[in-house]
């Protein structure tokens, strides 16, 4: 794709000539929607865009309305940006949280083809037809069409677009961390908490989502603490914290999850703010923190006022406007209307006035008075008390406001409107404490009638709330609460703190809010009429949607949320929840506390999946277990397959061989001369103790008490429900000592299973189990020449069948290596499982390959192993069985003792249902076309011409071409299969073809077992 050449950088026409925490000596060039702009180091993307007088930054989710920047931090619902290019692109990032860096590339979202001309905006014209619950109502019927509706809706409703290349090239990491006190939020209260906890010697982590500590103090220009500017005070606090060794400071880190037993998840944006990201550092790091105590000091979010047109670009939260002016040196508008239901917005008016804007305050309250109001009057700011902005006009930016005198509560217009031109409306509807983490941790909330907000009451976890997130919006109180919470938290984790807490002396305008409960400002028309007044900006939920939902019976707050999707966007309703609840309460004629609030869930702000996965990707996603002979397999061109976590040699293709050719060659060699298999992955358990034989007697279905020393026996293990769980050969090494083998995949399960019985039900048995799987490397030598090869390799024992019979074990030396030889066979051929201490595994393998060369010894992999055992009709647990198969189903009654009083599974096998003749039973299959191999998993039917859905008998569990038999062979689990020998069954294929096969006994080769002695 050819990228459009960016236009020349524009001037920062809305940047104030001085002030702010930006570095004017470090200009930064960035690109937004293919146009170049300039900002400064210290800017966010939002502040830099505003500095360039760019207000229109996105289109809304449902109606595609033009949207601007509403807030200045993590609460931002509108300004969602796609950042970066190509594989690095990331959607839905809040412009207010993106730190500016050189070369930053950003695009607006949810517009086709461009931000200023968006065809989706037609939804806005049809808004009458998109009421609350529109999708539910319209796309319900017919149900069968939902799939097609869904595809279109998902496209139309999506927000950002992920990177086209789904392989995220960035590096992410995660780490565990422990601390005595975790402080979430590094504003006034959080800094005090961290300091007081840190001074006690407690291990403290202080995390804040911003690039620098200080929280809202960074936005205030009228505050002095202990005789210095707020910014100097912050610097002093951070400097002291930095000197305390047990304090970890994590800026750019969001605490986004709070789970049971004080387990919290944080995401640190390590290099997101850098133009050049060092390769050795992760882009983001997930912190998984176990905290003794937490101090939640996350501050509060300002609420919008709900009036018609409140979503226009240029309509912003009052606090955010102050933040842009004071912290970033940006003037978001020259003709500003500050509309408020409380005192605090007067500070914004004063800041705007000082920055040179023309300011009018519209106060919903008739009787507003106090120091801030006086200060505004002294500054000759016009104040319209008892008035409201009832309508904001504009296209891509607010241009004009309709202001009316209103009654208390702003539900009625009580006089004539005036119209006022403006380019900025700064609104304030009061503050909502950021109770998200408290709520995630199942803390309780209570309604504060004075400050009009939900604030924390009882906590569930070991945590304290401090500052604005605790419901008190006074700086002095926040400092005191923070100090106290930090000290209490440290002391609760066993650290000594000083008895008296001195809060710093303050010189700041007396903070007061005194908000008026005015939740929905009338526009003079009936409900649902007139221009929209937005409650939830990100999900496009309006006040009339809430009213409509309530009228339609969705009166529980949880129902309202799901029906209107209010609060369900990525901002989780940070700015919208309380307004929606209040409007619902008003509509229902009840009180807010009665309506209640929804529960916040994690994450507080969206967390990158990359950070959650971190390095659990690629070869680190899951361990690959290797045998000690692996180097040989690799050097000799083996193909590998995963068996559980093990990597096993699958087959060894020679130059130019296909897999089928290689496997056929290996299978033939094992029956004509000798094959060698790496069987090291078999589970091996050392069983020792006076009760070892009795224990095996209870664990296996057959009898073990009388097995002679040095003898081997095959055993089948059931679960207590009678179903086959594992199998393997166990050998008696001494009276009280056994060596058990299990399937490769079942090794850990079997050990756990046996430990469970020993530790819980049979504590009286004196048996110890030790896993020795990796202690031994195992090479299985199988075929008529097996004994000759052992002799050629220099074995020092007599291998004749009389002195070393089938199913026995002898210790020996082979080429000088001490080995255990097990004469057992999974192929039906003369076979030895040769166990050697693992450090000699590779030497053993090489020795046998060299000694066997003259006999044409052939290494074979797991595929040939499968074919060889299937020729003999030996099952593989997990292939023929699936947890619903009994020994009887496998025709293995012979291995189930009817003499033993008990073994695991015995009672279950006696259940009536075990005798039903429609149980799936193991059978063999020979295809009519002997060269045709049935796909494993194919389903059998009696009549291939029956109408669909066909009645299925069961499925093929193993199927191969057998070069030794000269035909295709298969095993299957079929309903009533044992009584169907000789019948023909059919396997309909996807392409309409049908494979025909005869049911036979599942033993295809050497049915009499004559080859076992070579």
């Amino acid at each position: 794709m050819r990228l459009l050449k960016p236009k020349r950088a524009a001037r920062q026409m809305s940047r104030l000539s001085r002030g702010g925490r930006i570095n004017r000596t470090k200009p930064i060039t960035f690109t937004f929607d293919c146009k170049q702009y300039q900002g400064y180091e210290g800017d966010t993307l939002a502040s830099a865009l505003l500095a360039n007088n760019v207000h229109l930054v996105g289109r809304s989710f449902k109606y595609h309305r033009p949207r601007g920047i509403l807030g200045s931090g993590s609460e931002e619902p509108n300004a969602l940006i796609r950042l970066g290019r190509g594989a690095y692109a990331e959607p839905n990032l809040r412009a207010t949280q993106i730190e500016l860096f050189e070369g930053l590339y950003a695009q607006s979202q949810n517009r086709t083809p461009s931000l200023k001309f968006d065809i989706g905006a037609v939804n806005s014209l049809l808004a009458r037809f998109f009421p609350a619950g529109f999708y539910y109502k319209t796309f319900m019927w017919p149900a069968s069409m939902w799939m097609s509706y869904e595809r279109v809706i998902r496209y139309a409703a999506g927000l950002g677009r992920v990177a086209d290349d789904h392989n995220d090239p960035d590096r992410y990491e995660k780490t565990h961390a422990h601390c005595d006190v975790l402080v979430a939020g590094g504003g006034a209260a959080g800094l005090m908490a961290a300091l007081h906890a840190g001074r006690s010697g407690a291990r403290v982590i202080l995390a804040d989502e911003q690039n620098e500590f200080g929280g809202w103090l960074l936005a205030e220009n009228d505050t002095r603490i202990e005789g210095v500017d707020a910014s100097a005070w912050i610097a002093g606090m951070v400097a002291e914290l930095e000197t305390i060794p047990e304090v970890t400071l994590l800026p750019r880190t969001t605490v986004f999850g709070y789970m049971d037993h004080n387990y919290l998840t944080l995401v640190e944006r390590v290099t997101d703010h850098l133009a050049e990201r060092p390769a050795h550092l992760p882009r983001q790091r997930l912190w998984k923190v176990r905290a003794g105590q937490t101090v939640l000091a996350q501050g509060a979010h300002e609420r919008p006022l709900v009036f018609s047109g409140n979503d226009l670009p240029g309509v912003m939260l009052a606090g955010a406007v102050r933040n842009f002016v004071n912290r970033y040196g940006v003037l978001p508008g020259n003709r500003a209307i500050v509309v408020t239901n409380n005192d605090d917005a007067y500070r914004t008016a004063l800041s705007l006035d000082e920055a040179g804007a023309n300011v009018v305050v519209v106060d919903l309250r008739i009787d507003a008075a106090g120091p801030l109001i006086t200060a505004a009057r002294d500054a000759e700011i016009a104040i319209m008390a008892g008035h409201a902005v009832t309508l904001a006009h504009g296209g891509h930016r607010v241009a004009r406001a309709e202001i009316c005198p209103v009654n208390e509560g702003a539900t009625q217009i009580i006089g004539d409107a005036v119209h006022m031109d403006c380019d900025l409306i700064a609104m304030s509807g009061g503050l909502s404490p950021a109770v998200h983490l408290h709520s995630q941790a199942r803390g309780k909330l209570e309604w504060d009638d004075r400050n009009l907000c939900f604030k924390p009451s009882a906590t569930h976890e070991a945590s304290f709330n401090a500052g604005a997130c605790n419901g008190g919006f006074d700086l002095g109180a926040a400092l005191r609460e923070g100090a106290r919470a930090g000290a209490k938290a440290a002391s609760a984790t066993g650290f000594k703190t000083s008895a008296t807490i001195e809060a710093p002396a303050l010189d700041t305008p007396k903070q007061s809010w005194r908000p008026l409960a005015a939740w929905k400002i009338t526009n003079g028309e009936g409900p649902g009429r007139g221009p929209k007044a937005f409650v939830d900006f990100q999900n496009d939920v309006t006040a009339s949607d809430v009213v409509l939902a309530a009228r339609e019976g969705f009166q529980s707050v949880e129902h309202l949320k799901r029906y209107t999707t209010m609060g369900m966007a990525t901002d989780q309703g940070k700015t919208s929840n309380i307004n929606a609840l209040a409007i619902l309460a008003n509509t229902l004629g009840s009180e807010i506390p009665e309506v209640g609030t929804t529960t916040f869930r994690m994450p507080y702000t969206p967390a990158n999946i990359g950070a959650i996965a971190a390095r659990d990707i690629g070869h680190l996603f899951d361990p690959t277990r290797l045998t000690r002979m692996d180097d040989w397999h690799r050097a000799n061109g083996a193909s590998f397959e995963h068996v559980g976590q093990w990597m096993r040699a699958w087959y060894y293709p020679k130059e130019g061989e296909t897999m089928t050719e290689a496997v056929n060659r290996e299978v033939l060699a094992a029956r004509t001369t000798a094959g060698l298999l790496d069987a090291s992955t078999l589970g091996k358990i050392d069983i020792r103790g006076p009760d070892a034989a009795e224990f095996l007697n209870r664990i296996y279905t057959n009898s073990w008490l009388k097995l002679g020393v040095g003898k081997c026996r095959y055993g089948l293990m059931l679960k207590d429900d009678g179903m086959v769980m594992d199998d393997g050969v166990t050998t008696r090494l001494a009276e009280d000592h056994f060596h058990m083998t299990t399937t490769t995949g079942g090794a850990a399960n079997v050990l756990d299973w046996m430990e469970e019985w020993l530790q819980t039900e049979w504590q009286e048995l004196k048996v110890y189990l030790t896993s020795v799987t990796e202690e031994w490397s195992v090479a299985t030598l199988s075929g008529p020449n097996a004994a000759k090869i052992l002799e050629a390799a220099g074995v020092d024992i007599d291998l004749s069948a009389s002195s070393f019979p089938f199913m026995s074990m002898q210790e020996a030396h082979l080429g000088g290596l001490p080995v255990r030889l097990f004469r057992i066979s999974f192929t039906g051929e003369l076979s030895y499982e040769i166990n050697v201490k693992a450090r000699h595994g590779l030497a053993l393998w090489t020795l046998l390959m060299e000694a066997g060369a003259e006999f044409g010894i052939t290494p074979y992999g797991t595929e040939a192993m499968h074919v060889l055992r299937a020729e003999k009709g030996f099952i593989i647990v997990g292939q023929e069985t699936d947890g619903s198969v009994t020994p009887q189903d496998l025709k293995m009654d012979w291995i189930v003792s009817d003499v033993k009083p008990d073994f695991i599974g015995k009672r279950a096998l006696a259940r009536a249902s075990m005798g039903f003749d429609d149980r799936k039973q193991l059978v063999g299959l020979l295809t009519t076309d002997s060269q045709r191999v049935i796909p494993e998993g194919a389903h059998a039917v009696i009549d291939p011409d029956q109408p669909m859905p066909m009645e299925m008998l069961g499925q093929v569990t193993s199927s191969y071409y057998s070069p030794n038999v000269g035909s295709s062979i298969a095993m299957a689990m079929l309903k009533g299969g044992h009584s169907m020998l000789g019948s023909t069954v059919y396997f309909p294929m996807l392409d309409g073809d049908v494979i025909e096969a005869e049911i036979v006994e599942p033993t295809f080769f050497d049915a009499k077992g004559e080859r076992i002695n070579g």
């Binding site: 037993h261 819980t760 039900e761 008990d902």
Partner: protein, 134 residues
């Protein structure tokens, strides 16, 4: 994510443990005469209470030992951790044990009956687990 206090290794992350479900289910022996329905009570039926629950846990990634846990399924508070083959000491946990419907099942009673098979076991002192379940 709970912190579970392994009686041997001390407090560890939940991710190191495996939950073994309801505790104190005695296993009836095959020779005990119970019918299929009664056997099913042992094999299949498990409690899922809201509130205090006695359950088995194993420290899979640590010492591999089994033990019992008395946990409130609502608050996730763990009020007691106690060994296999023992009963809880806390009064409310003991009450939960005694109040379980399972105490009255035929399967449970059958498991308590001495038989040929577990008479031998009894000699070796293995009665605690049998009586108090696994």
């Amino acid at each position: 994510m709970l912190i579970i206090n392994c009686p041997y290794c001390g407090p560890r992350e939940e991710s190191e443990f495996a939950c073994g479900g309801e505790a104190h289910i005695a296993r009836p022996l095959a020779e005990n005469s119970i019918n299929d329905a009664e056997f099913a009570e042992y094999l299949f039926l498990r409690d899922n209470p809201k509130g205090l629950f006695l359950e088995r846990w194993r420290h899979t990634a640590g010492c591999r030992r089994w033990f019992n846990v008395a946990r409130d399924t609502v608050t996730h508070e763990i009020i007691e951790v106690y060994p296999m083959g023992a009963l809880p000491r806390k009064a409310e946990a003991l009450e939960t044990y005694a109040a379980s419907w399972r105490r009255d099942t035929t399967a449970e009673k059958a498991a308590q009956k001495p038989s040929q098979h577990n008479a031998a076991a009894k000699k070796t002192g293995g009665t605690a687990s049998r009586q108090e379940g696994r």
